[in-house]
Symmetry: C2
Subunit: 141 residues, 2 copies
Amino acid sequence: MNGMIFTAEELAYLAAQPLGRLATLAPDGTLQNNPVGFEVNAEEGFIDIGGWRMGGSRKFANIRQNPEVSFVVDDIASLQPWTVRGMEIRGRAEAVTGVPRGAEDFLSGEVIRIRPRRIRSWGIPDGEAGSARWTPLPETP
Amino acid sequence: MNGMIFTAEELAYLAAQPLGRLATLAPDGTLQNNPVGFEVNAEEGFIDIGGWRMGGSRKFANIRQNPEVSFVVDDIASLQPWTVRGMEIRGRAEAVTGVPRGAEDFLSGEVIRIRPRRIRSWGIPDGEAGSARWTPLPETP
């Protein structure tokens, strides 16, 4: 995957948000949706989701069965007028193991690595409602 | 569906949160995840998600094809120590039309109505991490 899939404004926005929400699909066809911390690798163009006991989690098992994910990062930009801004990142994820975690050794060595295929953002950078765009990305070979 | 499926603490928590995130499944098998406002009907035991142009939205179309949803409401209870609390509500949703919206006439008359089948909450009310519980609910006939 080619890097630089996010704009500078999007990278700044993602860096400022402490949580995103990851939707995965369970083998029985039900959906799962969880708040997660995340880290963007701007050069490589992926997003890593780690966490405490990630390797034993249901979401980690889910994406091993079905890699489709949707990851949304949003916040309330203004209460008056009511304005929600954010980004929705759709793509496929892989269950990566053996990731060195450095100082954050309370986290496990497993991460969910999202390779974006479509990125939708709204209200970034200008806060305007309804300014959604979709960025179709090349398929990974 | 029988009412009173939420505890008093859960109802208070939900009432205090301005946004949740709704995961739906598109007909092509990809996932969608969106920040949404919501309203809990405690007596009837459902959650309504409305919004501007709901009837024309992709999520509304998604649940007409596949009613499975996962709806998560969460926030950061404490930065130090890092504590996220919230609720994940899984179930089936219906695309309801012709809902009277009263004073909020900028919203459309369509809502996504979630009938919870499983409710997981963590950190409510006591903020303790890892205190997840699942409440299995009776199947709707």
